[in-house]
């Protein structure tokens, strides 16, 4: 078919060939399907929400707002998920009381509740079928962006917005522009999805990324496992993005079949060929080297460097866990490094926190758990753990932490006098072996020779 020329007037001068409208991004398509009619970047629309999650950090306030809004009964209780993950387990009676207020509400309303020890809410959302391709899923926690790994549009909201969803089943959203993130090639040995995420954060200016979606595409995506895609979607919020979304492929459908028994493939959404992007960023995965986020200094944001530049920096605590680095594949990658050395540096405290009870169970059945214990790791209850300084290990004054988590603000892990570095699970494991920041390739490379 001949492509119509924009503004072309046909031979008889009577008909105007209409200019074909530009294609839609994944974000525009999902938000269009959840509102009335086609919407485009910049529009504000009221959207029907497929499911929404709150944690023990955000649910108590959401319940307060819900009541103040006149809410009596949840509109769609099966779509509202509460996860007790931030204080797992709680360390004082006041926190227990906040969690009890969530339990009481759930008992009365019949919504979904994941108890202490079930894991990080975000991991439970993807593991238990609350997130499906093409869906619109919100979470009262910034790392709700992780659900984009399963081809959903998802973003973090506050407790009042969550209460509005509980009350109406809807929320108003501004349709974001998208940035096309083109990944090519395959990661080398010792380089991880975390390194891609850190590299993206280094390159993208939060002022530009703000209110936009990162839409990941390219042959590099095909090579990444679902767990690896979750890392990229999860950390899109650290780059300032509203969402991070992937197309669905065979790996996505296999993950859904395995974890939640979801068989359909026709809900998946792809971007139109003529979709308009605000920018394109390309990363050749095969050329990427391990990255390291340095702790913020003097109020400035964390700088991200090649890990080589900090090799030799002593480390006191290593943390493997969270919705970024606490999945089975992360622990497997870490153990691959640890096995090369055999013994932990005795000066390093190693804390591991599985992201969910299923992952915890996998660690047990695969034998990884006993390997970690033999290696001297402290094993914590599945949940957010030490990541936000509320349970699961606090670093001491002046101590240096290397963490597989996503955030290293001053005070993040419960002590403003400790410095937090971020890197991949392999790099964390390498530091647990040597006691200093170490390029994991130097350990894995030796093993290959």
């Amino acid at each position: 078919m001949q492509t119509p020329v924009p503004g072309f007037v046909s031979g008889f001068g009577r008909e105007m060939t209409p200019q074909p409208p530009p294609g839609l991004t994944i974000s525009e398509k999902i938000l269009s399907a959840h509102s009335k009619g086609i919407c485009r970047a910049g529009d504000s629309v009221v959207c029907r929400v497929d499911s929404a999650m709150a944690t023990d950090g955000s649910a108590p306030m959401a319940i307060d707002y819900f009541r103040k809004m006149g809410g009596k009964v949840l509109r769609e209780p099966e779509k509202v998920v509460f996860a007790l993950d931030h204080y797992a387990p709680p360390d004082n009676p006041a926190t227990v009381a906040l969690q009890d207020s969530i339990r009481d509400f759930t008992k009365a309303q019949g919504n979904v509740l994941y108890e202490i020890g079930a894991g990080v809410g975000h991991q439970l959302m993807v593991e238990h079928g609350h997130v499906l391709p093409g869906g619109l899923v919100l979470g009262a926690d910034s790392h709700a962006v992780a659900y984009g790994s399963l081809n959903a549009f998802s973003t973090g909201i506050g407790s009042s917005d969550l209460a509005a969803v509980m009350l109406t089943g809807k929320l108003w959203l501004k349709v974001p522009e998208s940035i096309h993130i083109h990944l090519s090639g395959k990661l080398s040995v010792g380089v991880d999805a975390k390194d891609i995420a850190l590299e993206l954060n280094r390159r993208l200016d939060s002022d530009f990324t703000s209110y936009k979606t990162l839409e990941f595409a390219g042959d590099g995506v095909t090579s990444l496992s679902l767990e690896e895609r979750m890392v990229l979607a999860n950390m899109s919020t650290e780059a300032g993005a509203k969402a991070g979304v992937f197309e669905a492929d065979e790996k996505t459908f296999a993950y859904l079949r395995q974890h939640s028994g979801f068989e359909k493939t026709d809900t998946a959404v792809v971007a139109d060929p003529g979709a308009i992007y605000a920018a394109t960023e390309q990363i050749d995965l095969s050329a990427l080297s391990p990255r390291l986020a340095l702790p913020p200094r003097n109020g400035a944001a964390a700088e991200i460097v090649e890990i080589e530049k900090s090799v030799g920096q002593p480390v006191d605590m290593v943390y493997l866990g969270t919705c970024t680095g606490g999945r089975s594949s992360d622990f497997e990658k870490a153990l691959n490094v640890i096995r090369q050395g055999g013994a932990k540096d005795p000066r390093v405290q190693l804390i591991i926190t599985p992201a969910s009870d299923r992952i915890f169970s996998d660690l047990g059945t695969s034998g990884m758990l006993s390997e970690f214990i033999k290696f001297g790791a402290l094993v914590m209850t599945p949940g957010c753990g030490a990541c936000c300084g509320t349970c699961g290990g606090i670093p001491g004054d002046g101590k240096i932490v290397l963490s597989a988590a996503n955030r290293n603000f001053t005070g993040r892990m419960g002590n403003a006098k400790a410095d937090i570095y971020l890197a991949s699970p392999e790099a964390c494991a390498a530091a647990a072996l040597t006691g200093v920041i170490t390029d994991p390739r130097s350990i894995l490379g030796k093993a290959m020779k």
């Binding site: 950090g57 103040k68 809004m69 407790s159 917005d161 300032g240 109020g299 944001a301 955030r407």
Partner: protein, 174 residues
């Protein structure tokens, strides 16, 4: 809030003030009452900051204000401290939304020429903002608020909006 005037003293903050700095996660695990939490306002950024805050102060920040966690206490604790307006070059979207939903006015503008302690006046007339720096005798421009944001602010926040309307409009554009 068809018309709203805020007068106050500028409290200068740098780029990338995250919500953990505004209120630490370890504090909100014990209580979410902003009147109890306000004594810890910005403690991990500057120990003792809360003691220096006066009713009516205006936070004046660089870019990416409120980044990190979407926790809403980071807005309610600011309001409980007597602060009614935050000016920044840019906001994290979750902080911006939380601010609007609770009636804290977020103003996106160039904050480079504001000094700590400057007396500022912000006049909001139906979503059009006029900002005066009384100390320097300058005007600062800011984009108009969007229609949905105006509707929520005019109601007095999202709670009041939904109490009044019971639901969102069929489409967000009025």
């Amino acid at each position: 809030m068809t018309e709203m005037s805020i007068q106050g003293r500028a409290r200068l903050l740098p780029d990338d003030i995250n919500t953990d700095y505004i209120i630490s996660s370890r504090r909100k695990r014990v209580t979410i009452d902003p009147d109890l939490l306000k004594q810890y306002l910005l403690e991990d950024y500057q120990n003792g900051f809360a003691d220096t805050v006066e009713e009516g102060d205006i936070l004046v920040a660089g870019k990416n204000f409120g980044c990190g966690s979407a926790m809403e206490v980071a807005v309610t604790v600011v309001l409980a401290s007597g602060i009614r307006c935050v000016m920044a070059k840019s906001f994290s979207r979750s902080y911006y939304r939380n601010a609007i939903n609770n009636g804290l006015l977020p103003v996106i503008c160039d904050t480079d020429d504001i000094s700590d302690g400057d007396q500022l006046g912000i006049f909001n007339s139906g979503g059009t903002l006029a900002i005066h720096n009384h100390t320097r005798k300058t005007e600062i421009t800011a984009p108009d608020l969007s229609p949905m944001v105006i509707a929520i602010l005019q109601a007095g926040g999202l709670t009041a909006y939904l109490l009044e309307h019971g639901d969102f409009p069929k489409i967000a554009k009025p």
